[in-house]
Symmetry: C2
């Protein structure tokens, strides 16, 4: 994934919010409580919080994923997304030297 495309992924308020919310899933997605947070947060929760349509959020999550900023796991009918901390760290280190 190219640096420029990573910046494109980050060039959107909603996507930045999602990335930020995922730093503290327990706090930002209390509704999911019962299901636990081991795998991350499911799309529906993020969709409700973001106030965008399901299709938009699904697309945004896949943009973040292609940029290496989040990862996903399918568990039953749910897809859980979480931050890819290694990918984010790698990005920051890259920026530190290349920017």
């Amino acid at each position: 994934m190219d640096q420029v495309d990573i910046f494109k992924a980050l060039s959107n308020r909603s996507r930045m919010q999602i990335l930020s919310w995922l730093k503290d899933p327990e706090f930002n997605f209390p509704e999911q409580g019962g299901a636990g947070f081991e795998h991350g947060v499911c799309v529906g929760q993020i969709q409700r919080k973001a106030g965008l349509t399901q299709s938009t959020v699904s697309e945004y999550l896949s943009i973040l994923q292609r940029a290496g900023l989040v990862s996903s796991v399918r568990v039953g009918q749910w897809t859980y997304y979480r931050r890819d901390e290694a990918g984010i760290k790698a990005l920051l280190e890259n920026l530190g030297t290349e920017l």
Copy 2:
């Protein structure tokens, strides 16, 4: 300047190149030699190297400037641009904590 807008400024190959070229003006803009590099590199030099029109480069430089990534000085009929290392450092530190 908002984080998202800074990412937008960086979401373009040409603007990223310009920012990168300005890390080593002597090497990347040898044509400017005679005039010296104390103030940075003038728009025309960047324009020729980027292979874009004058108006496009002028606009791109102002986008980078609004994002706090470069600064400019007018000297006679020339405007010299250089990296705003303080602004870039501030951005990196912000990212380190906020991203």
